[in-house]
């Protein structure tokens, strides 16, 4: 009797977005790795810590930096608060990316779920822009110059770029208007947007009758297995994951302080100046390609590809199976290896053979069209080779190409973060 009442209570409150029963197999850690759930926890942690920061932070260039110093030295637990907000923000990007990978590799974008894939991509964009707009707020040298070079990338977009940059900055260079724009977007518009879109994300999961059912490659589709009560089976797992995550973030925040350099100085660019780490892949691309390609053609092709994916590829047959099939996994591994070697070799070759110190500015043809055509040809060749070699399904080959590109992006990001030193020269570690 008593237990029953308790359940009812939970059903009303906690289960608002959840069904009362879920397929038992979707509870397995090896399906979700708890990634989406952890992302939700971080969204709420960020909102909570962000609200507290709002009581201390002053969004004007003259006092922003000082208010951060004040927060760190005078406010009880101020430094911890800043660390929590900073590390959660970074962790959210990382976890969202991993969640995106898990959704892709378990084929959870079949027709019942493809609209949710679209919603997910929008969520991802909101997460990245939240982090980017927050990056400027401390108004130190790192923040000022990272935003300067990131927004200056827009100058290279034909026709609209300069206008968009002026709109974002509220002028020609970062200043009072920029800080206020970023503050408003970071603390009101994007959090509201996230909170508005997230329920749609969860609603679509319910509409698809829960998550994809995990299956080993040899198992048949169709048999969903037994249902269990969400309370306690699902809820207990969720709460456990949340608590472990909170403990880890808290530990990290106790031992590592969020970076803060000198106050922003528009007259002095530090060497090296880097974009925020999640834009480092794009910055690295920019070092090798003409900007029209690195900032416009390649990213928009990737974007279109990602949004179109569930409409090109229907993974229903293999949904719930990691990497589609055993063959699929082998192909993805090969693609990963090829991509790591290819990307590193490409960067080195460009740096020491073609790209380094040619006389004259980057050229549209030699730095744009040619390498672009070579990369396209390479991907097409890889596609055909894979298809032939493995007599694979479309789904498996698309997965291999996705792996090729995703790995290249990760490798470029890693090179940008760890292997570029003073003057953006390549160097070993550090």
């Amino acid at each position: 009797m008593e237990e029953k009442d308790q359940r009812k209570y939970f059903r009303n409150l906690l289960l608002h977005f959840r069904p009362s029963t879920v397929p038992e197999r979707t509870l397995r850690l090896s399906l979700t790795w708890g990634l989406g759930g952890m992302a939700v926890v971080l969204v709420f942690l960020l909102i909570a810590t962000g609200l507290l920061l709002k009581f201390i932070y002053e969004p004007v260039p003259g006092s922003a930096y000082d208010s951060i110093l004040y927060l760190q030295s005078r406010v009880p637990f101020g430094q911890l608060l800043r660390n929590l907000h900073r590390w959660s923000g970074n962790a959210l990007i990382l976890l969202t990316f991993l969640h995106f990978l898990r959704v892709f590799y378990t084929g959870a974008f079949d027709p019942a779920r493809r609209f949710n894939w679209t919603i997910g991509l929008i969520l991802f964009a909101a997460v990245v822009f939240s982090n980017f707009t927050g990056y400027l707020l401390p108004w130190d040298q790192i923040a000022y110059w990272a935003i300067t070079i990131s927004t200056s990338m827009l100058d290279y977009l034909p026709v609209v770029g300069v206008g968009i940059k002026r709109l974002i900055l509220g002028g020609t260079e970062p200043g009072t208007a920029t800080l206020m724009n970023f503050y408003a977007i970071h603390t009101a518009i994007l959090p509201a947007l996230l909170l508005f879109i997230l329920p749609f994300h969860f609603w679509r999961i319910r509409k698809a009758n829960g998550l994809v059912i995990p299956r080993s490659p040899s198992e048949d589709t169709g048999y969903p297995g037994p249902q269990v009560d969400a309370m306690p089976h699902l809820i207990v797992r969720e709460v456990t994951t949340a608590l472990i995550l909170l403990a880890v973030i808290l530990l990290i925040s106790m031992f590592y302080n969020a970076p803060l350099a000198d106050q922003a100085n528009p007259g002095l660019s530090p060497n090296p100046t880097k974009a925020p780490w999640y834009f480092m892949g794009i910055q690295e691309l920019l070092m090798h390609f003409h900007p029209v390609f690195s900032l416009l053609v390649l990213p928009s092709m990737l974007m279109v590809g990602l949004f179109a994916l569930p409409y090109i590829d229907d993974p229903t047959e293999t949904a719930g199976t990691w990497f589609r099939s055993r063959k699929g996994r082998k192909m993805a591994l090969i693609a990963m290896g090829v991509s790591i070697i290819g990307t590193v070799a490409g960067v080195l070759l460009d740096e020491f053979q073609f790209g380094l110190n040619p006389s004259g500015p980057p050229d549209m043809i030699t730095n744009g069209l040619w390498p672009f055509a070579i990369i396209l040809a390479f991907c097409a060749g890889f596609y055909l080779l894979m298809k032939k070699l493995f007599s694979a399904t479309g789904s498996e080959v698309i997965q291999a190409i996705f792996t090729l590109l995703a790995t290249a992006f990760v490798v470029l990001t890693v090179i940008g973060i760890w292997f570029r030193g003073a003057g953006m020269q390549l160097m070993w570690a550090g």
């Binding site: 070079i149 927004t151 509220g170 007259g267 500015p361 953006m424």
Partner: protein, 175 residues
Amino acid sequence: MGNKKSQEATDSGAPISRRVLLNRIWALAGGLAFAELIILLIAFFRPRRPRSDISAQDAVIIAGAVDRFEPGTVSAFVQGKFYLARLEDGGFLAMSRTCTHLSCTVPWVAGEDRFICPCHASEFDIRGDVINPPAPRALDLYAVSIENNVLKVDTGKLTRRSEFSTDQVTYPKST
């Protein structure tokens, strides 16, 4: 809305019913209101104007007497955010300190006789021409004028250029 009667009325080309007409007017008014809202928003977010109007006069910076600057040197003007270069032949160029690659601030490195950008290692010579990419264009220019042997730089307007050419240089009257 579109009940059977009004449907027929519109299809046959006969005068449309009052209901359809009213609905269309409503839709039109709604559309107009929406468009107005968009225009308002765009106007609102247009880059903010400076709080106090800087007159054209204030943008002009008096750099000093011509012979204060040796040929082959570059002087930084922190307040106006520009460099004044005097070329070997005695001519003057006023250049923005903003790198044309991704807008870092470029220091003049006197020892190497060039501007070297700390961000991605672009290099520019004393005339602002690109020696080393990734910068795609020469440094932007401000207009220089010379009156009574005094140099004035108009920081109100920036001129883009792809590379150096002699007509960008301002020469003092030879005396």
